[in-house]
């Protein structure tokens, strides 16, 4: 049965300047972004980072795919805003801004929600851009250059490729059981069907390990690599530059406490909070209802 199972390459092929950056630099950038995002509470920095990531996406020619992949921001953002406005995750005292029936809305909540959202958005966007512009094999090569243990790296690579294969296997197994009249799409009915998938996985791994050994593949010893990435001056500059900027922003934020957390400067008017809250709740509820509807329609 050769049903063509495509590799899950998240890579959007291209030769842009972003594509050509060394994968280690890209990994470094992601790390820098995440550290900065989760340590600052300055919304200007956070959303600035998000904008920068979008600029990179445009440079790399992956803007459209990025938008499609980033759809999760809608449910995450709307839920964050809705919940935080109701119960801010900051220290008391909270500043009540408005009242809707028996529910109190707090202004600090809106700011903090934006901070949380900003963190997620900036990290997610940049990670997506980096992944979309790097061939998975080069990513794994970068991991090995960063001295990540070979076995771990290899297992990670294998898992990535096997995901579509196992999706296919699960579908096949479910088809086989349905063809024998198995009733119920409830989880407990379906669970025994996972035994064949598991057994298939074991057999596959056994066969694969014999095949790999028989081809001279070994997990120890000096290895060379078929995939080559050359570190250019630009890559060093980008890497060092990124780290410098991050440290700079963090240091600056610490030295200028007023810049660290803008919630004392930025005030939201009650109307703003009310509007933000209502929109978020509406969006969030419709997303949940939509998801439930789709999952029930399939059965």
């Amino acid at each position: 049965m050769s049903m063509h199972t495509a590799m899950p390459t998240s890579l959007i092929p291209g030769t842009s300047i972003i594509h050509r950056i060394h994968p280690v630099t890209k990994i470094l950038w992601v790390v820098v972004y995440v550290i900065l995002a989760f340590t600052t509470q300055n919304v200007i920095i956070l959303y600035g980072m998000a904008v920068f990531a979008i600029l990179m996406a445009l440079l790399g020619g992956v803007f459209r795919p990025l938008l499609k992949a980033a759809y999760l921001i809608v449910p995450i953002g709307s839920s964050l805003i809705s919940l935080q406005v109701l119960a801010p995750a900051v220290e008391q005292p909270w500043t009540p801004i408005a009242e809707v029936g028996f529910v109190t809305l707090y202004g600090d909540g809106l700011y903090f929600a934006l901070v949380l959202l900003g963190r997620i958005v900036s990290s997610m966007l940049l990670s997506l851009v980096m992944v979309m512009t790097t061939h998975p094999s080069d990513l794994f090569l970068a991991f090995s250059k960063l001295k990540i243990p070979f076995t771990f790296n290899f297992m990670l690579a294998m898992t990535l490729q096997l995901i579509p294969v196992f999706q296919r296997e699960v579908t096949l197994v479910l088809s086989a059981q349905k063809s024998r009249g198995m009733k119920g799409s409830g989880f407990s009915a379906v669970l025994p069907s996972f035994i064949p998938v598991f057994v298939g996985a074991v057999e596959r791994v056994q066969q694969l390990s014999i095949s790999l050994e028989s081809r001279g593949f070994g997990s120890s010893g000096n290895k060379t690599s078929y995939r080559q990435v050359v570190a250019r001056i630009q890559d060093w500059i980008y890497g060092v530059g990124g780290v410098t900027v991050m440290i700079g922003l963090m240091v600056y934020s610490i030295l200028q406490p007023v810049w660290w957390n803008l919630s004392d400067i930025i005030f939201f008017s009650p109307q703003t909070v009310l509007v933000a809250f209502s929109v978020s709740v509406t969006v969030f509820t419709s997303v949940i209802l939509g998801a439930l509807y789709i999952s029930f329609r399939k059965t």
């Binding site: 049965m1 050769s2 063509h4 199972t5 495509a6 590799m7 390459t9 061939h135 998975p136 094999s137 690579a157 294998m158 490729q161 579509p164 294969v165 057999e203 596959r204 066969q207 694969l208 390990s209 014999i210 095949s211 790999l212 050994e213 028989s214 081809r215 001279g216 593949f217 070994g218 010893g221 000096n222 290895k223 060379t224 690599s225 078929y226 995939r227 080559q228």
Partner: protein
């Protein structure tokens, strides 16, 4: 006289946790450049024989082994399997289970990477191997997106990159469609005829083996029961049938006619021989 490239000396092997041996007193010699077919019922020990050639048995699968297996002058059990890979390459029956990398080139380069081959040489070997199996230009394609026949050829390319002297194929076409089967068998024939590679094929497709193999080894219950030239072995129709095996239909035809005393010519093992003989007979008879 040239040295055999494969030498089994009274080899007996039992898988761990089992009582009866999978191989019993196997002794055989295979000369360089031979094309050998191995046939037998499932469970006769064919796969175990194949795995003994590169040391998977007993090194990887443990179990009890007596006797000696010498391939390419090396005693197999003294070397790790990946060392033996430089002499013996193996291809298995499920093409997809042999795929592990993101691109075809990386799949072929796996063994070379582990051997620490320098980049330039590696690039060249990969291109050569892919060209040899008819997959030129497939370097960046994903192995999982190939057809079964192509995947199997890719597996062969990966094996060839190590430049082995012996190629062992264990039921390589059982999961392939007719095109795939043809591609793989043609590949084996080319490697044997044009490149002098020793080829050992474990198969049920007796018609194809009769066409290409110089020698046939018949296994049953862990033993070698017949070992000889293809023409000689396949013409022993009754013995093979008693073992539950098929003979090429051409041979079966000759046997049936021979039983009634009609077949005077040499026993045919392929279509062309049978056609010639039958037409001769009909001319004389008519």
């Amino acid at each position: 006289m040239p040295e055999p490239i494969v030498h089994f000396d009274s080899v007996t092997y039992t898988y761990p946790g089992t009582d009866s041996p999978a191989l019993s007193g196997i002794s055989l010699d295979i000369m360089p450049g031979e094309y050998v077919g191995v046939i037998g019922l499932n469970g006769a020990g064919k796969t175990t024989l194949g795995l003994s050639l590169n040391g998977v048995v007993p090194t990887m699968l443990s179990g009890r082994r007596e006797g000696r297996v010498i391939v390419g002058g090396l005693a197999v059990e003294e070397y790790p399997v990946r060392e033996m890979a430089k002499i013996v390459g193996m291809v298995f029956d499920n093409p997809e289970f042999q795929m592990s990398q993101m691109t075809c080139a990386e799949e072929v380069a796996l063994g070379l990477e582990s051997a620490g081959v320098d980049f330039e040489t590696m690039r060249r070997s990969v291109t050569e191997a892919l060209n040899l199996v008819g997959l030129q230009g497939f370097e960046e394609r994903s192995p999982l997106a190939l057809s079964g026949g192509q995947q199997q050829r890719l597996a062969i390319a990966a094996v060839l990159a190590m430049k082995p002297q012996v190629l062992v194929m264990d039921e390589p076409t059982s999961n392939l469609d007719p095109i795939g089967k043809r591609e793989v068998f043609a590949m084996a024939a080319t490697l044997n005829q044009d490149y002098g590679m020793t080829v050992i094929v474990i198969e049920h497709e007796v018609e194809v083996l009769a066409e290409h193999a110089d020698r046939i080894i018949v296994m049953d219950g862990g033993r070698i029961v017949l070992n000889g030239g293809s023409a000689e072995i396949f013409s022993r129709v009754e013995e093979l049938q008693e073992l539950g095996l098929r003979v090429p239909e051409a041979t079966s035809l000759a046997h049936l006619l021979g039983q009634k005393g009609h077949w005077k010519a040499k026993t045919p093992i392929n279509s062309a021989e049978a056609v010639r003989a039958v037409n001769e007979m009909l001319k004389v008879g008519a």
